[in-house]
Amino acid sequence: MLKDKVSLENYEYMSNAWDEMFDLQGNIRPEYLSFKKLLKKVNINSLREMEDFARQFFMTQGVTFTVYNNNEGIERIFPFDILPRIIKAKEWIEIEEGIKQRIKALNLFLKDIYHEQFILKDNVFPSNLISNNPQYLFEMRKLNVPKNIYTHISGIDLIRNTDGKFYVLEDNLRTPSGVCYMLENREISRRLYPSFFPKQNILSVLNYPSILYDHLSSLVDKKNPTIVLLTPGLYNSAYYEHSTLARLMGIELVEGRDLVLNNNYVYMKNAGGLKRVDVIYRRIDDDYLDPLYFNSSSQLGVAGIMSSYRKGNVVIVNAPGSGIADDKASYIYVPKMISYYLNEEPILKNIDTFELENPEHYKHVHDNIEKMVVKKTDGSGGYGMLMGNSATEKEIESYKKLIQKNPKNFIAQPVISISTTPCLIDDELTPRCVDLRPFAIYGSEGIKVCPGGLSRVALKKGSLVVNSSQGGGSKDTWIIKNLK
């Protein structure tokens, strides 16, 4: 017999993982109660129609990236699961406070290591992590950045462990992406659940662009400053996000070739002549920013922009050199930074991390590699890592050789059970691993964390990798206001 409703009773848990919707006894968690009632009422055909509507919506709006095959461009969307991920306000408050605390400490750390370097002198942070790190930019030494803010925009990756607590997996302080997916996911939720959504007291994310604009304009003492968003261009996979943010903020979207330096000031080439630029929200990496200072073959950046920045003629957001603070090796020391600079206990915990250049850690990881995730300290996007529990013996052996060659380039963490959330896959509620990337803006009036963020799900069964570049998808994240 064909079923007409999605089954909640036959939900197959992943062993040893916290599930966002059900507790271990199979009871619905309170934050999901009203959504469960809705699911009980909706039939499978309607859910299929909703999935179809979401796909069409992303396609026609152009929330896509292009894959080139045989000289033909094919438009792809990032997969979206129509069931929301719901978080209680009480839990959110803790996340929010934890992120604020972390970003505050990381900014103090950046200011310190580019100035007096007290943290090195006090032996709290090993100096070799600075001296050997390409992310540490000597061009930033002794340079005072506006309002002492380095990381204006951050995306902090969190996961929920088996104990139900959120842990920090990674700090993204360079050019974190995904915020527009958060906005689009919310837009589609409003459309998918038009009568249910308004009654749920969900905290809004829609003012993110105006908060960001306010913040960017507060960085210079000038009325109506000229702010631009610097993109690598149309073929970048995050181009959609760049153009949407520029559109929502009402600022100009520029490429490196649109900018020119004159007398250490940055100008954009307008149809009516040159126009001076005051603030650059760049979405290109440090290395490509200025061919005169960094990668000399870069065509994405602007020659001389660092000189202009050093003279204080233009503000670059996030500050160049911020990457030293979100490096995977620095990550280990963030709890220490929090107690060193703020004299506080970290609200959000780190995941146990082993530094492979430490011989004891090296041995432990080497002996237990099948229980470890090994990552390169300078890697991102889920590339180049080893999942010890699923890799073949051959893969493990060749990875071990890589580590042996240069152990300081690697860190390892125990394989953890990332929490799962029900996704609608082939008409069934199916558990999939999920993380959370909330976005924070650090402005002159403090740090604001946008309520919710991007929930990324690993759509492959049993996979822990949620990165969109590795077949991950996303969900809307609802923070329910009145639910304690």
Binding site: G62, Y239, S243, E255, R257, D258, K269, N270, A271
Partner: protein, 308 residues
């Protein structure tokens, strides 16, 4: 506004206009082959619209459906509809913060339709004229959306400069390749159906019969396409619009009289004061040669004044 953005806006509408012109010519030619059974006309269209070299005989012109399929869907030919629409949409994608949301959606939906895998198979199953009309609806929707939703600022003017520039070129090409070749094909001149199709392909049949009834004279057609004040596809109408938008651009961007404006004004005067020369079909070729030179010069100046 950035020069690059201005340039992309200009090309957004040039490509959109180009696709509109291409669809019209395909549609009319297919219609006329049904009447005349003369398929040779496809070859000249392929030469002028597809940049198709006649020595490459990969197409059998007797098979209209194959020719149309090639012109619409061939992804290797940069002038196929599929590629023109994709380029237009790529320009739209790069200027999303300057066009209305609705204009973007309209360009994107056109692109998605033509690139959808089922579109080609649907084409093969349907009546080609119906299918071409369906495609033309995307163009018409784009123009009306742009008219209703696009703010009248810099972006609108650059889009219009692109649109009218392309339209002028299409009308001049029409005169050059269609009317000037008439002497070679004189047997057709007496056939009403020939004139009718010719005028339909440039969207002027209705206006022509209203103005001149159904008496077809080459001078009247030249008058309508070159210097009629009210025919939206006439060269004169296009030049007037071009001048208007260039003038507005100069005001918006606080530019003094640009070379582009001067050349557009010169073109306008040529059309206004050379009526006798134009209407004498012997002088037409020389006039058109000069006109094409001036249009090319204007294109260079627009590039220099706003895009470089």
């Amino acid at each position: 506004m950035l020069s690059r953005v201005a340039n992309n806006l200009y090309w957004l509408d040039r490509y959109m206009q180009r696709s509109y012109g291409l669809l019209n010519i395909i549609s009319t030619n297919h219609n006329s082959t049904i009447d005349s059974g003369d398929y040779s006309s496809w070859e000249s269209i392929m030469n002028s619209y597809m940049g198709f070299k006649s020595d490459k005989k990969i197409i059998n012109y007797d098979d209209s459906l194959k020719v149309i399929e090639y012109m619409l869907f061939d992804y290797k030919n940069p002038n196929s509809l599929k590629n023109i629409v994709s380029k237009s949409r790529e320009n739209a994608r790069s200027v999303q913060d300057h066009i209305s949301r609705e204009v973007w959606l309209s360009a994107n939906k056109y692109f998605l339709f033509i690139n959808d895998q089922t579109t080609l198979s649907n084409f093969k199953k349907s009546d080609p004229l119906n299918f071409l009309n369906k495609l033309l609806q995307f163009n018409l929707l784009y123009y009306s959306t742009s008219d209703i939703t696009q703010e009248r600022g810099n972006a609108y003017c650059f889009m219009n400069v692109g649109k009218y520039f392309e339209r002028i070129i299409q009308s001049v090409d029409f005169l050059y390749f269609k009317l000037l070749k008439l002497s070679e094909n004189e047997k057709n001149l007496q056939e009403i159906v020939f004139w009718k199709n010719l005028l339909i392909s440039i969207g002027g049949y209705q206006l022509y019969t209203k103005t001149y009834k159904s008496i077809f004279k080459i001078e009247n057609i030249i008058e309508m396409i070159l210097i009629n004040d009210n025919f939206p596809r006439s060269v004169k109408y296009g030049v007037n619009k071009l001048k208007l938008h260039i003038k507005r651009l100069n005001t918006f961007n606080e530019l003094k009289k640009t070379e582009s404006f001067f050349l557009a004004e010169k073109l306008e005067n040529n059309l206004k004061f050379n009526t006798n020369k134009i209407l004498n079909s012997k002088g037409l070729r020389f006039f058109l040669d000069d006109l094409i030179k001036e249009i090319n010069e204007l294109s260079i100046k627009i590039n220099e004044d706003y895009f470089s």
